[in-house]
Assembly symmetry: C2
DNA sequence: ACGTGTATGTTGGAAATACAACGATTGCGA
DNA sequence: TCGCAATCGTTGTATTTCCAACATACACGT
């Protein structure tokens, strides 16, 4: 790890979820106020270590970061890939005393912005307006993640493949506001999302089609109003 | 629905997750600033309706609120019970334009505090300190929920009952910082949490015990260091 | 046209899970 | 002490899911 030589571009930052809604003129003031740290990490270097108590939110400026979980027996599991502009550690940073259950490592040479959570919240006379925006953004991100997790969980908590599919398709239909809609997955991706076997899922989809519950073509679906038995 | 006759007690509020950390002296100022609405709902009355775009966070003062999901075919599903002091709608309130996928109804005659999300964020000269605390609290709640969901999802995304169990037990062990720990569930609750059949899970637990991977008695567990095959 | 790769549907046997039923144990109150 | 309810383990069977393999269709570039 080293302090970064890379200078971050305001044009880049203002497009990130965290700084969305700020202008390039405001950013220098805001950054001066929240005093982030810039750090460079080499490939495979550990950014955050399982068991630590962190107070900073990380943002990937360049490179890529992987979130990794190591269980009791030492089995490693890649939980997530974080790409430039995306943040990580935000759930832990706002919970002092909550120890990291995961590690973050640089999947490539990466430069990272580290923002202290307290600096994001504390009042600062010169930039209150920006703070408010920042807090709005981080709250929105957290809420968005929350909804996505809740939604996925509501599908996955169904016991059978068919129920999982119906839960997911119903949700997509309601989101689209129509009984016809496109899903953002191919079959393999949908199976991965629902944590089921692709072929079994494909099988189940076709059974439901044959029973007249729905029709589909590739990623287009059309739900029928008849109550499933 | 009617405006509430019930007067809320500061002693009650200061213990809630949302107002935690404020004193009884500060609360009147803070409440005056965020201008919450008090509403009474009769049993079975709808508080929030699926499809709405809400901007307020709700807090149950008395009674009980149920979060209900209705799918494409009209099947109803109780998602959550909200008890006095707990909040609901917070994920949606901070995401303008995100339409409710669930409804909230009063499971009993209930009085509800509704706080506009913008009032929670906007700067107010007289009470900035309280605002900061409020934002801290809501961010912490959101983060906490996030971690809980992520954790549950990481168990549930495992394909087999055994893997789900190992994931959960490993997580509990790491949280306890010991290979011996207590879990907060009985068998049926654990099965419900992991979305598996109780008897199958019980069976799997005993198999793992017989294979020497762990021992247990009621809700006490002891993981063995040997790598599972 | 041809080969290649990808996505999808289909099938059959192996393995895991769900389900129903029952026995054993415990704790609790009548 | 007795009965009752709750919890947990066990078993057998039916069902579902997984897995590997293969068939089909389509897009793409040569």
């Amino acid at each position: 790890m080293s302090t970064a030589g890379t200078q971050v571009s305001y044009a880049f930052l203002k497009k990130t979820s965290l700084f969305r809604g700020t202008t390039e003129e405001e950013l220098p003031k805001l950054l001066g106020c929240i005093e982030p740290a810039y750090r460079d990490f080499s490939k495979n270097e550990i950014i955050l270590r399982q068991g630590e108590d962190i107070t900073s939110v990380g943002m990937v400026l360049s490179g890529r970061v992987q979130i990794i979980e190591e269980d009791f027996w030492g089995n490693r599991n890649i939980i997530a890939d974080i790409w430039p502009g995306d943040i990580f550690g935000e759930s832990y940073a706002f919970l002092p005393g909550e120890l990291l259950r995961v590690s973050a490592i640089a999947a490539e040479n990466s430069s990272i912005l580290l923002i202290d959570a307290r600096h994001m919240l504390e009042v600062c006379s010169s930039a209150c307006r920006f703070h408010t925006r920042l807090v709005q953004n981080i709250l929105a991100e957290s809420a968005k993640k929350n909804l996505a997790l809740t939604r996925k969980l509501s599908h996955m908590s169904k016991r059978s493949t068919r129920e999982k599919l119906l839960s997911y398709l119903s949700s997509q239909s309601l989101a689209a506001g129509s009984d016809q809609f496109e899903i953002p997955f191919n079959r393999q991706q949908l199976a991965d999302y629902l944590c089921v076997d692709r072929s079994a899922m494909s099988n189940e989809l076709c059974k439901m089609r044959d029973e007249g519950m729905l029709t589909f073509d590739k990623s287009s679906f059309h739900l029928k109003s008849e109550m499933p038995l």
